[in-house]
């Protein structure tokens, strides 16, 4: 029986099987440090960081080894103590090789920390400076530098901070574990962000399939009259920024605009905790919390690992993959990236490593479009996926543009639901890139 049910939600969406039972009752485990870490200089949106070390240098865990380059950029800290082996181009989970610092780890668990700050007396500037130093990026997937989001800009009116506790992707349970194991700290992190932005109202959006976390959050939130726990319908993609704002504030972010434009800032649960750890404990972002799950992994776990740990090490730590494993994905199964090289490292925004089998994926033979309209019914953004996909196939990019292809957020609900098994969002992704390229050309011409 469901303890909490909610009808607060958005239009459209899908209900994939959750598979959360594989890992939801497993407490976080701290994985031993790897022998080597690979730290890409671009783990965030914005300019890649500038390396401050060279081959042969001794580094300590927590030491800044690359500095932020420009405003939208973050510093990178060494996640282990050891020696810089080299700086070279290495594969990353995005599939693209990028400049990375490789460090051979020494046998040490020491971390260089900053002075802890008192959360009750800290001022906004101190919070921003500390978050900037800690190199925190958003953990919801986009990896946008967090200090930029929590620093008030002129002419910007924000009246709500929303913590995203939906975790609407199947399998992933790390935010759920955070909300259960570190409830007070999550809310403390939210309060620090509210303080930094000078915003009086905070929300935690959570789907009604997580009764235990809702109960715990509500108990703590009761102590603050400006923080509300909003229980939302369990539906993918409830955790998408636009959908979350719609469900909680009933505001719609217009196409091409940001949550900021409707007065809201969204932060991931993990990001709020990273802010808390940076301010109150003086820790830089050198660990990532992951759900390692899927029917293709022998021992599903919720893990804390050092950033830069190769995927192969994590998989090995979880007992390896099964015979019938057929795909390894970084992130969630709906929007994550399939991996072809297990040497790619865990980065700041990694939230999960999934090993899927053929049975779970349930991919079937593609047929022609039957015009059933299911993709239109589930599209949370009001698009016509089947047309966008067809336009891309036929190279009718003007039509794709006029049907708002660039609005698509690639949540994959259409492909998931399509009875004809057409890879709709995959085509749309391609068309979107082409249309954006044309738009850019038009602008520069």
């Amino acid at each position: 029986m469901k303890l909490f049910t909610s009808t607060k939600t958005f239009q459209g969406g899908v209900h994939p099987a959750e598979y959360k039972e594989l890992s939801e009752n497993l407490s976080f485990e701290i994985m031993p440090n790897p022998k080597q870490v690979i730290l890409p200089l671009a783990q965030h949106i914005g300019k890649p960081s500038n390396p401050l070390v060279k081959k042969g240098d001794d580094v300590k865990a927590g030491q800044i080894i690359a500095e932020a380059d420009g405003f939208i950029s973050v510093p990178i800290h060494s996640s282990v103590s050891g020696k810089v082996k080299k700086i070279s181009i290495e594969i990353t989970p995005s599939g693209f090789p990028k400049d990375s610092i490789i460090i051979d780890a020494a046998d040490s668990n020491e971390i260089e920390l900053q002075q802890p700050l008192n959360p009750d007396t800290v001022n906004p500037e101190e919070i921003q400076a500390r978050v900037k130093w800690a190199g925190i990026v958003g953990q919801g997937g986009a990896a946008f530098p967090t200090f930029v989001k929590i620093t008030p800009q002129p002419n910007q009116k924000i009246d709500a901070i929303i913590l995203n506790g939906c975790e609407c992707e199947p399998y992933l349970t790390r935010d759920y574990r955070f909300m259960i194991e570190r409830t007070e700290e999550v809310i403390e992190g939210l309060r620090l962000i509210m303080k930094s932005l000078g915003v009086g109202k905070g929300y935690i959006g959570i789907e009604d399939n997580k009764p235990e976390a809702i109960k715990k959050l509500k108990e703590v939130a009761e102590n603050y009259d400006n923080i509300e726990v909003e229980v939302l319908e369990t539906k993918y993609p409830q955790g998408a920024e636009k959908m979350l704002i719609k469900a909680i504030l009933n505001r719609e972010v217009p196409p091409g605009k940001l949550p900021l434009d409707v007065g809201a800032v969204i932060q991931n649960i993990g990001t709020a905790l990273a802010v808390y750890d940076a301010v109150v404990k003086g820790e830089p972002q050198i660990t990532a919390a992951l759900t390692v799950s899927g029917n293709g992994i022998k021992e599903p776990k919720n893990l804390i690992v050092r950033i830069g740990t190769p995927i192969a090490d994590v998989i090995e730590y979880c007992g390896g993959i099964t015979e019938d494993a057929s795909k390894v994905v970084i992130g969630g199964p709906m929007m994550g990236v399939a991996q072809f090289d297990f040497s790619a490292p865990v980065t700041k925004a990694t939230s999960g490593i999934l090993v899927l089998t053929k049975v779970e994926k349930n991919l079937q033979e593609e047929t022609t479009c039957l015009r059933c309209g299911k993709c239109i019914e589930v599209c949370p953004l009001g698009l016509i996926p089947t047309k966008l996909s067809r336009f891309t196939q036929l190279d009718r990019l003007e039509d794709a543009e006029s049907y708002n292809i660039s609005v698509c957020m690639e949540c994959g609900s259409c492909t998931f639901t399509c009875p004809a098994n057409i890879p709709l969002v995959q085509w749309i992704r391609l068309g979107k890139q082409r249309v954006i390229a044309i738009q850019r050309e038009r602008k520069s011409a």
């Binding site: 290495e90 199964p333 072809f340 994926k361 309209g373 098994n421």
Partner: protein, 323 residues
């Protein structure tokens, strides 16, 4: 434990972009659910009109599937008869023919339904008109007399006796049929269209299974009640009450199995409402003022033609866009 693990060739993994999961839906399964949902209507046909109807159904399905296979072979395309759509077309066509219909004509109807209704447009997914209705429209034009000769439902006698359908009885003789008979199905009418209860059983199953979008049948019911109701209120003696419209002729069968055909109905949610209301409007006009007693077939075919236009003008509002 270093990067060399990666060269390990043991893993045979797939690479594809997200999403990495798929729902339970696939074309074949949806088609077979429709076939399953038609079984109550088939059973009612046997009960009211006898086992001969199974022969008609078999011939209709056989020729539909055969025609599809032959055309696919001629066009050197993959033979897709296992997707079940040809079977559905044949079955639907059989169920809307008069009982004891000529088998040769049935075969001809199936050939036309698949050939002219579906394959000429490029096959499943590309046709504009409901294939089964195209087949029936052809038979109606080619063999008007056998197409309007209705066997009286009979449980015991071998010789068939002809009867009127509730619609023609009302139209030409001003005789009203008991609604309870129309609900159960022991009335004159097409093979699978007489028993409202059997049709509802299958139709509701499809709605709950998620194959049929409830909007089209709902819009048709609302439309028939409104448009039929207006005339009934004007003159209850001259025009039948709306409930009669809902249970008479091919209304329910059309609403649940014909108008809801994925390929030939609108894709947008708003479009589905317009489509359903349009069918009912045309239907009521034909039934009350046309030369024919029944108009479901023509009403649906007529509205099929508007589907591309409806789709175009009922694009959903893009999220966040102010109109």
């Amino acid at each position: 434990m270093t990067t060399t693990t990666t060269e390990n060739p043991v893993y045979k993994l797939e690479l594809a972009s997200s999403p990495h999961l798929h729902s339970r839906w696939n074309t074949k399964q949806a088609m077979w659910l429709v076939v399953l949902a038609l079984l109550p209507a088939v059973i009612s046909a046997v009960i009211f009109f006898g086992f001969y109807q199974l022969l008609i159904i078999t011939v209709a399905i056989g020729f539909a599937v055969g025609t599809e296979a032959v055309i696919k072979l001629i066009r050197k395309q993959k033979v897709t008869i296992t997707d079940g759509s040809g079977i559905i077309t044949g079955l639907l066509l059989a169920l809307i023919l008069p009982p004891d219909f000529n088998l040769a004509f049935t075969a001809l109807g199936s050939i036309v339904a698949i050939g002219l209704g579906k394959e000429i447009f490029g096959g499943l997914g590309f046709n504009i008109f409901n294939p089964a209705l195209v087949g029936r429209a052809f038979l109606q034009a080619a063999f008007p007399v056998p197409m309007t000769t209705w066997t009286k439902p009979n449980f015991t006698e071998v010789d068939s006796i002809t009867t009127a359908t509730p619609l023609s009885a009302f139209k030409f003789d001003s005789v009203a049929t008991e609604l309870s008979s129309m609900f159960i199905g022991n009335i004159g009418g097409s093979i699978g269209e007489t028993s409202a209860i059997a049709i509802l059983l299958g139709g509701l199953f499809l709605i709950f299974a998620g194959v049929v979008n409830y909007r089209v049948p709902a819009a048709m019911v609302i439309g028939a009640v409104i448009f039929g109701g207006v005339f009934w209120l004007i003159d209850p003696a001259l025009y039948p009450n709306p409930l009669f419209h809902l249970t008479a002729g091919g209304f329910l069968f059309g609403a649940l199995f014909m108008a809801t055909d994925w390929v030939t109905s609108p894709m947008t949610l708003k479009g589905m409402w317009i489509f359903g209301l349009g069918i009912s409007l045309v239907l009521i006009i034909i039934r009350l003022f046309g030369g024919l007693p029944e108009g479901v077939m023509y009403a649906i075919l007529f509205m099929n033609a508007f589907v591309p236009l409806i789709n175009r003008y009922t694009r959903p509002r893009v999220f966040g866009e102010v109109k």
